[in-house]
């Protein structure tokens, strides 16, 4: 069983290696192709993958929003090794800041409120992190869990942010081109039809076109494009930070905090940085959630269970690997939606799947290469110690 799954990450490695060996022009072609497929996904609506009982565009938006959150949490858990069980708190802070600025106590346009929401969540991350990052490991887990609950209960009880009723009519992002007008006229710069599948035969569905760069309440696809773009930008930023001095300091802190401190890494500063950066991405995602299609948030949108799902997404995917986090986020958001037909059983199945996956594949689906290399080296040393030289370690 282990060998079968081990080949997933081995295969992933081979894909990455082969990609790295290509000439630059081929690389660019591959990336372009992948991007086109990613952007076209909700319009292609491939059979089997597509969801029957709920709009596929909406599901795809949720999948990417979840992947974005997982990417942010991956900085905190995967890179810096801090277990944050209250990430939903930051998500809520971002969403509520946006809602308060755009409709509840102001009428800012979304794209002006977005940066402020990010800054506010970052500050809340520092406020929470500064006192608590000095306590270690599992204590941090329970303190952050408490933070998530405090945020939810507070917004539930404070009239200024709508209390239990929540905030309605949060404006959509400002679009370019004609305003979408219900029920038929869509607007935007131009419109793109989607595919309709009859068995395996595709045809264009010109009745339901998606508008480019116009955000209304009818169609989730423009939101999907927007958040996918944000995800790609964050991904690029994540890559740069991980490869920098900061990224290496995080890694050192995660592996051995005392050793890192002795080598001159100001671990507290870097932990706080990871916490604040992770928080701001949570806020960013929350901000998009608030202004998405429904334009409505209430305290029930941010249950503690959502925090658990975020953590599950990061760890299922392989904590510390950004592609793993994205894959995990996508899985955790997508599976319950795809199997909505089993509506009542989906959480049960999800729980079982989580346990089975954890037991079966403790390192996550796509663990970072270093983790696997370290494991292989350990296995080799063990084999040498036991004088068991014939057996090659299975990675």
């Amino acid at each position: 069983m282990m060998a079968g799954m081990g080949s997933i990450s081995a295969r992933w490695d081979r894909v990455v290696d082969r990609y790295n060996a290509q000439p630059k022009i081929v690389k660019i072609l591959w990336v372009t192709l992948l991007l086109v497929i990613a952007y076209a996904m909700p319009l292609l609506r491939p059979p089997i993958i597509t969801t029957n009982s709920i709009d596929f565009g909406t599901v795809m938006f949720r999948v990417i929003a979840f992947a974005l959150v997982a990417l942010g949490l991956n900085i905190v858990i995967g890179y810096a090794g801090l277990l944050d069980l209250g990430y939903v708190g930051f998500y809520a802070v971002g969403a509520y800041t946006t809602a308060v600025l755009t409709v509840e106590h102001g009428s800012w346009p979304f794209f002006l409120a977005l940066p402020l929401a990010i800054v506010v969540t970052m500050i809340s991350g520092v406020i929470l992190g500064a006192p608590t990052l000095r306590v270690r490991g599992d204590y941090l887990a329970i303190v952050t869990l408490g933070f998530g609950e405090i945020i939810r209960i507070s917004v539930n009880n404070i009239e200024w942010v709508g209390a239990a009723a929540g905030i309605k009519n949060i404006p959509h992002p400002t679009g370019i081109g004609a305003k979408p007008e219900p029920p038929f006229k869509q607007g935007g710069l131009f419109e793109i039809p989607r595919l309709e599948w009859n068995g395996l035969v595709p045809s264009f569905d010109t009745e339901h076109k998606s508008a480019f760069l116009a955000f209304g309440s009818r169609d989730a696809v423009p939101y999907y494009w927007l958040i996918l773009t944000v995800l790609i930008l964050v991904l690029i930023g994540d890559r740069l930070v991980k490869a920098s001095r900061v990224g290496r300091a995080w890694e050192a802190t995660r592996e051995d905090e005392d050793a890192a401190e002795l080598m001159g890494v100001p671990t507290f500063k870097y932990k706080l940085m990871a916490f604040a950066l992770g928080a701001s991405i949570g806020g960013l995602s929350g901000s998009f959630y608030a202004s998405s299609q429904a334009g409505y948030i209430n305290p029930q949108s941010f249950p503690l269970l959502l925090s658990m799902l975020f953590v599950a997404a990061v760890i299922v995917g392989g904590s510390g690997n950004r592609w793993g986090a994205i894959a995990g986020g996508a899985l955790v958001a997508y599976l319950p939606e795809r199997f909505r037909d089993f509506a009542d059983y989906r959480l049960l199945v999800f729980g079982l799947a989580l346990t089975v996956l954890a037991v079966w594949r403790p390192e996550g689906l796509l663990p970072p290469r270093q983790t696997r290399r370290a494991k292989a080296a350990e296995a080799e040393i063990d084999a040498l110690e036991e004088g068991d030289l014939e057996e090659t370690p299975n990675v």
């Binding site: 204590y139 329970i142 346990t355």
Partner: protein, 338 residues
């Protein structure tokens, strides 16, 4: 903010304190499950809340089985025989769930020497599955074709709704403290919790098996070399946690009298908070943490209003951890002296 509500009269103060102690005692018993497992394995047993939840259902089902579904108001003395049977049932049910949990969700990971975080995920998954399985019990009964026979147990209404114990236990006044009536139910809850804690503390400190638990908590490898069967020790740890959760479930049903499939979650979080507050891995810390948490949040609820109860609990936790980063009594399952 209304400090008068709490300190206005001794009557109020005593009643909020006593109410806090009663819940604190229940938190403390659940906290034991977290603290024992953490002390031995350094794992957060996230699914422990479901262990407790199954115990509460075992209590309610025992009453339905032995009394029927007719609503009744009984005094503690009249309910005592059934309550004792229910206690045994709840302890057995919770212990069984805890052992299954250990076998299915933890042991494979411990054997593989997996990272700590993944055990948390496995436990979160198990927690979802257990809670949902309870919420879907009407469907399962239908599949098996026993929904008619078990109608009273599956649910009077929907499986996800609140499931009420048919027998309400009426508290009776025992004596008065400064105008506040101490009832038999409150007293029994606090005393039972204290007795269980004392028994467990003695078990860990004095018996051969307790020594094994402490040895594994201190250094699993050396313990194994000294002939301690660590798998057995882990099993016993989960078993004890389950038994204590069963006691907590019985006391909870005495006080509250109703449960549901999601009843464990918040209580579990609070109990874990209590364990951390007292110093996780420390048995006496769990007791102290539970009582302090219960009393403080009861006072906080009096001053700021009931809706802020949980916020008070978590802010208190943060403050205590800032002053004493490893809890009130420090972490020390392994260090307890025999």
């Amino acid at each position: 903010m209304d400090f008068g509500a709490l300190f206005g009269s001794f009557d109020n103060f005593a009643s909020f304190t006593m109410g806090g102690l009663v819940f604190g005692a229940i938190y403390a018993l659940i906290a034991l499950g977290y603290t024992m497992v953490y002390g031995v394995l350094q794992l957060i047993n996230f699914a422990h809340s479901e262990v407790f939840m199954y115990g509460t259902f075992a209590v309610a089902w025992t009453f339905v089985l032995l009394h029927g579904t007719g609503d009744a108001n009984w005094s503690l003395g009249k309910a005592l025989p059934i309550l004792l049977v229910a206690l045994v049932a709840a302890m057995l049910a919770s212990a069984a769930i805890a052992l299954v949990l250990e076998r299915v969700a933890y042991r494979p990971l411990i054997n593989k020497n997996a990272p700590k975080l993944i055990a948390l995920i496995s436990a979160i998954g198990a927690s979802f599955a257990l809670s949902e399985a309870m919420g879907l019990r009407d469907r399962f009964a239908k599949w098996l074709g026993v929904d008619d026979n078990l109608a009273n147990y599956v649910s009077p209404k929907k499986a996800r709704d609140v499931y009420t114990n048919p027998v309400t236990i009426e508290p009776h006044k025992l004596f008065e403290v400064g105008g506040y009536n101490v009832t038999d139910v409150d007293l029994v809850i606090v005393l039972a919790a204290l007795v269980m804690m004392f028994a467990l503390d003695q078990f860990v400190r004095r018996t051969r098996f307790g020594r094994g638990i402490r040895a594994v908590a201190q250094d699993p490898e050396s313990a194994a070399l000294m002939g301690v069967n660590s798998t057995r020790v882990v099993q016993v740890t989960f078993l004890i946690g389950g038994l204590m959760a069963g006691v907590a479930a019985t006391l909870y049903m005495m006080k509250i009298g109703a449960t549901r499939q999601s009843a464990g979650f918040l209580l579990g979080v609070k109990a874990f908070t209590a364990a951390v507050m007292g110093g996780i891995g420390n048995l006496r810390g769990a007791l102290l943490g539970g009582l302090v948490l219960g009393v403080m949040e009861s006072w906080g609820a009096a001053i700021w209003g009931n809706e802020w109860r949980d916020v008070v609990a978590f802010i208190l936790l943060v403050l205590i951890l800032l002053v004493r980063p490893s809890g009130l009594l420090g972490e020390a399952l392994g260090k307890a002296r025999a």
